[in-house]
Structure formats: structure tokens, C-alpha cells
Symmetry: C2
Subunit: 391 residues, 2 copies
């Protein structure tokens, strides 16, 4: 059976070149970067070289503005809680949106319990944040604005540059969760006025268990972890040297190959979307039609359960997702799909194909060959399907 | 030049068999354990299999009592802050010791700033915690006792079973930082009445960037990270599947090979200690002479700076440590060496050889061949050295 993996949003394989870069630090003897002997110093240099590569990917002025963490979730926690804890004299309000990643949603709920006020800006039916409403929500108590660069579930790219301008004008720091976007679309923290930016290594074909937070010079943060004072005191714990080296290599490769790969994926994505919308009646695209991640095709089918669709596809060798893998354990409809105005049954009829390096035109054709029949079969057994759809 | 790595306490190479076990999850396609498709379910099974292996290593009754984290520092933070945040009604006092790992030292300082009271039990000149003083420090406000299983710097094994008995008798939960001990000496959380136990993968020849916290059923913890609710809600963030698989394999290997390897290392360690004490005048052993980690030889040389010694050894191809790698950036004397009563100059004249799988008798002989000459040369250029030592 043909195997097609289109769940890159949930987990990505590590690029072979990344694995190769990590090998000397995983297999052989290597030191602790804090050790004084030669091996320790070599490990230190490798870590600093990676810091530079990650800084370059996002246009950071100084490598020391990159803090390595254990992943995107930790970076988001460090950014929000870290700023919150250091801003108590200034205020207690945070402006964010209704479609952030589940980690941001839960961090802001946690902060509300701690007494912070959180304003959640709504999005339109494409999932685009309303910049004027965001401007209106900022007040003299606002300590942070946090908006994602792109939504990994529905693919919509947010107007970060405009939001950055608003934040600069208002003198409020801007945090951007770029986990889903980094390595896929160009990011420039200086031009976009971004003060804090969360990154995940695996989302760029780097190893799991490592991420980074960009912290612009001058932004004050309280660390989440106390310990040996690594990462300028902002992230204690012995450095995950092979992981950090792998993330650096992944960032370097992403920077070099992003333009070509984005073009290729956009072509595959558009073929998939067009093919499905043309061949499956009552099918729709979720998210913005144009301003979307190159790899994201989130589709909606009336009268069908996304989960049944997913399992039927799995039996045909196709791995997709019913939405965000990070919340797929709960059976509630995705907060993102609800925020763009979908009804419960519409949200439950949605399916995310997230493409990546391994996908080819043949993969897309295979999905287009298999999917319409599955949808039709599931609709046939649903009592809700209108007769004309089955004609 | 011969190369001898005796800094296993700072960083360990990953066992080849561990790397092999991780390969399918690092190189190929693998799913997010939260994904519903087949690949996701395979990843979930691999994670659960590792949980079982880690549980077995420490004698935990149920695999779900193991929570995977990003490492020992995070495990320690989660244990202390997690219990503290959930025990506010009960009390605000924590009993710990003066020789904990730097992460524990800094976490308890952080908690003091948050209004908690911390009692630090002194140790004797071998670094052994005074159990009667510990008993006396527990009061009706005590929410947690935290003592390390073994001190990674001076090697001393603590009387955990006795401390566990005291805690059980007093009805206070016991946290044990077992990062330096796990995989080297047998641990049994049930027999030793341990409620929380911190582990690090790399300290057992597993990959970096992963660790675990044992949380006995019934112990309530506040998570450090908000997010997708992974690890029973106690540690959000996409699971580091290859890292977790590697840690599981490392735990399995440690359990199978610990007895033989401990015997082998004890022999090498004792040969090294005996050889140094016999050939270098005014040299001393730090830590307990018998109740110590099989791999730990912490030695002290009068009239010599540990750092000069370290650099001279490095030039001869020998990697050792001046103490805890986690604090070697700061030039202050180690808090552990101070706690066992050493003067500043004694602490600064200390050197840690931490042995491991790669070391052989020849390595020990090479150190014994090189070290006495280096000490003698350094003493010759020190104005403090008494003339009779140079005779």
C-alpha cells in the first residue's frame, strides 16, 4: 500500500543533514559547555555557532538574543510568564487573540487565575486578526501583546508587521509564537518590531525536544527554571548540545532552502485544495485562501465526521490530522475553528493535510484519488446527508 | 597523545545501543503520540514502553507515575515548585540540605523569595546528612523534605532509607534528586519511601535534553508549563519521542548492567584514589571513603589550584573537572566543599575525576603516571608550598 504522510504539522522527520550534524555530539565524547577542558570548550563553540544560525534565520541583531529551550511550549511559557512576572509595577493586562496555539490559550488562562487581565482579539472568518480591535484593546496597563505568526491549524498568516507597528507606537512589547511559521516563511524580528519570538526545532525538521526564544535586548524576563544559570540565567539546565546543534543546522537549511521549498509546497497545496474542492461536493477550505502557510490545506466536508475520515484515510495509508495534534485527545471542537465562526458540526467535519519535504505530486494525486470515494461512502451511511449529494 | 575522559559527571556519551533504539524515531517518519493515525499510535506505544522501563529501574509501582521532562533541572523545578504551589493551605516550610545540586539550591532560594521557609540541614565532613537534625527540622508547617540520593561532586551516598522512614513517620512527602545516582546504584522508591524522584537521561548514557520525575500516586503537583496537557497534564509540550525512547533504553541497560559496572568502576576508582594518595604528598579524598558513588574520585591537593591542575591535565589529554560543571563558570568555591568544612584554599585545590563506561585500567594508570608530576610542578612554582614537600 502507498504511504502518504501529510501530518507535518504534528511531527516532522529530522532532515538527514541535521542528523549528520548532530552525530559528533551524540555518539562520541563531548563535553559539558560549562567545563573548562578542551572538549567542554568545543561543545561551547558548537552551541554558540547554532545560536548564530538561529539568530540569522529570524534577522536578530545579536546571537545572544537567542535562548535555547526544550521546545515551543516552553518558549511560550517563558515569554508570557517571564514578562508577566517582571512587569507587575507596570500593569497586568495582556492582549492576545482567540486563535493562538493551545499552549498560549492555557498560559493566558493560567495568568488570568494569577490576577492578570487577558483581552482576546477576535478574528474574521479567514482567521485574520483584526488589527484595529487589537489597537483599541491596548491600554496603559498593557504589558504584552502576543499574536502568532501563522496559525498551524488553518494556515492563516497574521498581519504581524502591522501589529508590530501598533505595538511600537504604543510602546508595548510584542511576543510572536512563530512555531508553525518559522522555516516556512521569512521572518524579520527587526523589521517587524518583534520583541519576543517562540521557535521549535522539530517544526523546521530539526530534532525534537529543543526550541528557542528570541528575547530582544532590553526585554526583562523572569526565568521559569532555577539552576546552574545557563543561557544567560534565563534557562537553567545542562545544554542539550546535540539538540541545539541540530536546531542550528535546521535553521541554516531552512534559511537556504525556504524560498524554493515554499514555492514547491504552495504548488502541491493548491493542487490538493483545488482538486478536492472540484471533485467533492459541499467541500470548503478553512483559513485564508491566499495568505496562508505554503504547506497547509485545511478542508471541511459537510455531513462527515473528520475523525471517521481520518481513520478511513489511515486505512488507505494516508496520515492526516483532524486539527491540532496537541488537542486531538480532547473531543471538543478546535477553538480555532470555533473562532472563525464554524458551527460544531462544521468544525468536526474538518481535516488538516499539512505537507512537507517528503511529499510529491504523486502523493497529492493519490489523496485526490482516494479521498472523494471515502467522503462519499461516509456520507452514504450518514442519515443527515441530503439525497441530492448522493445522486 | 593518549586521551582520557574522566568527566562523566558533566556529560556522558550516549550508549550505542541507546542511539540505535532512537534511530527509527529520529530518522524515519514518526507521528505525534497525540495523533490518531497509525504512526501516532506507534509513537504513543514507544513512549509508554519507555515509561515502563524507567519505572522498573526505580521500583515504581505504576508506569504512569513517571512524567517525562527536559532533564534533571526541570524535574527538580517541577517537584519543588509543583508541590509548593499545591501545599499553600498546609504550610510553607521546606527541609533540604546544604549540599544539594545547584538547581535545588537556586530553586529553594527562589521559593524563599516567594515567602517559603527553607531549613538547610548541615552535613558532616564526609558530606553525610545528619538524619537526627533533619528529623528535628520537620514541623507542622513542613510541606516537603528534599535530599539528594548521592552528591555528584564528592560522591557521598546519603542515608535515604533512614530519611524516608523519618518522612513516613512524620507524614511529610520526600523528594529525592537522584540525577547523579540513578543507573549507578540501585534505587527503590517503594522501599525507600520516596514520593518524588528526579532523573536525567544523559547521566545514564541516554540522550541529552530528556529527564523524568517520579510522582507517587496521590502526590499533587502544579505543572510548570501550560499547554496541550501532555504527561497527564503535568508536563505540556509535544513529547520528545526519540529522547524518551532513548531514556527508556538507557534505563533498561542500566538496570541490567548496573551491578557489574558498579563493581568494575569501584575497582578503578579505588585504584585511582589509592594511587594518588600514596604517590602525591598532602593529597586527600573528599567525600565519604566507602559510602560513595562507584565512579567518583574527588581529590584535594594542598598548595595547588584545581583550575591550574585541570588545564595541565587537559594538555596531557586528560579531561577532569574542578567540581560541578554546572557551577564552574562562577569562580566561587563549590558550596558542597564549603559545606563539608573545607577552607576556600582547600576547596580550590580540589579536582573531580568522574569515571564511566569508557574508562579502563590503563586510563587510571595514565592518570597516575601524569598527575604526580603536574602537582609537583605546580607546587614548585607556588610560593606557598612548604620546602619539605618539594624535597
Amino acid at each position: 500500500m502507498r504511504r502518504v504522510y501529510m501530518d507535518y504539522q504534528a511531527a516532522r522527520p529530522v532532515d538527514d543533514r541535521v542528523l549528520k550534524s548532530m552525530e559528533p555530539y551524540a555518539t562520541g565524547f563531548f563535553g559539558n559547555p560549562s567545563s573548562l577542558h578542551m572538549l567542554g570548550q568545543e561543545a561551547r563553540e558548537a552551541v554558540e555557532d547554532s545560536r548564530l544560525k538561529v539568530a540569522r534565520l529570524i534577522g536578530a541583531a545579536k546571537p545572544q538574543e537567542i535562548i535555547f529551550t526544550s521546545g515551543g511550549t516552553e518558549s511560550n511559557n517563558l515569554a508570557l510568564k517571564g514578562v508577566a512576572a517582571r512587569s507587575l509595577e507596570k500593569g497586568n493586562q495582556i492582549v492576545t487573540t482567540a486563535i493562538e496555539h493551545i499552549s498560549m490559550i492555557n498560559i493566558s488562562k493560567y495568568l488570568e487565575k494569577q490576577g492578570f487581565q487577558v483581552s482576546r482579539i477576535p478574528v474574521d472568518h479567514h482567521g485574520t486578526v483584526d488589527v484595529e480591535k487589537l489597537r483599541g484593546a491596548i491600554n496603559e496597563k498593557t504589558i504584552l501583546v502576543s499574536v502568532m505568526y501563522a496559525n498551524g491549524e488553518i494556515g492563516t498568516l497574521e498581519p504581524i508587521r502591522e501589529i508590530g507597528e501598533v505595538c511600537e507606537e504604543k510602546g508595548v512589547p510584542l511576543h510572536v509564537d512563530a512555531v508553525a511559521a518559522a522555516g516556512q516563511v521569512p521572518i524579520d524580528v527587526l523589521k517587524e518590531n518583534i520583541d519576543l519570538l517562540s521557535l521549535s526545532s522539530n517544526d523546521m525538521y530539526g530534532p525534537k525536544g529543543v526550541g528557542a526564544l528570541y528575547v530582544a535586548e532590553g526585554v526583562r524576563l523572569m526565568p521559569l527554571l532555577q539552576g546552574g544559570g545557563q543561557e544567560r540565567g534565563l534557562r537553567s539546565g545542562s545544554e542539550n548540545v546535540p539538540g541545539i546543534v541540530g536546531m542550528g543546522k535546521a535553521a541554516e537549511l531552512a534559511q537556504a532552502e525556504m524560498a524554493d521549498e515554499a514555492e514547491r509546497l504552495t504548488r502541491l497545496r493548491d493542487r490538493l485544495i483545488k482538486g478536492v474542492l472540484e471533485t467533492v461536493p459541499s467541500s470548503f477550505l478553512n483559513g485564508h485562501p491566499v495568505l496562508r502557510l505554503p504547506n497547509n490545506a485545511n478542508l471541511r466536508f459537510s455531513y462527515v465526521e473528520g475523525e471517521s475520515l481520518l481513520l478511513s484515510l489511515d486505512m488507505e495509508g494516508i496520515a492526516a490530522s483532524s486539527g491540532s495534534a496537541c488537542t486531538s485527545k480532547t473531543l471538543e471542537p478546535s477553538h480555532v475553528l470555533t473562532a472563525i465562526g464554524l458551527l460544531h458540526e462544521q468544525a468536526h467535519g474538518s481535516l488538516l493535510f499539512s505537507l512537507g519535504k517528503g511529499n510529491t505530486e504523486d502523493d497529492v494525486e493519490y489523496v485526490l484519488e482516494v479521498l472523494p470515494g471515502i467522503v462519499r461512502r461516509l456520507r452514504t451511511i450518514s442519515p443527515l446527508t441530503p439525497r441530492e449529494l448522493l445522486a
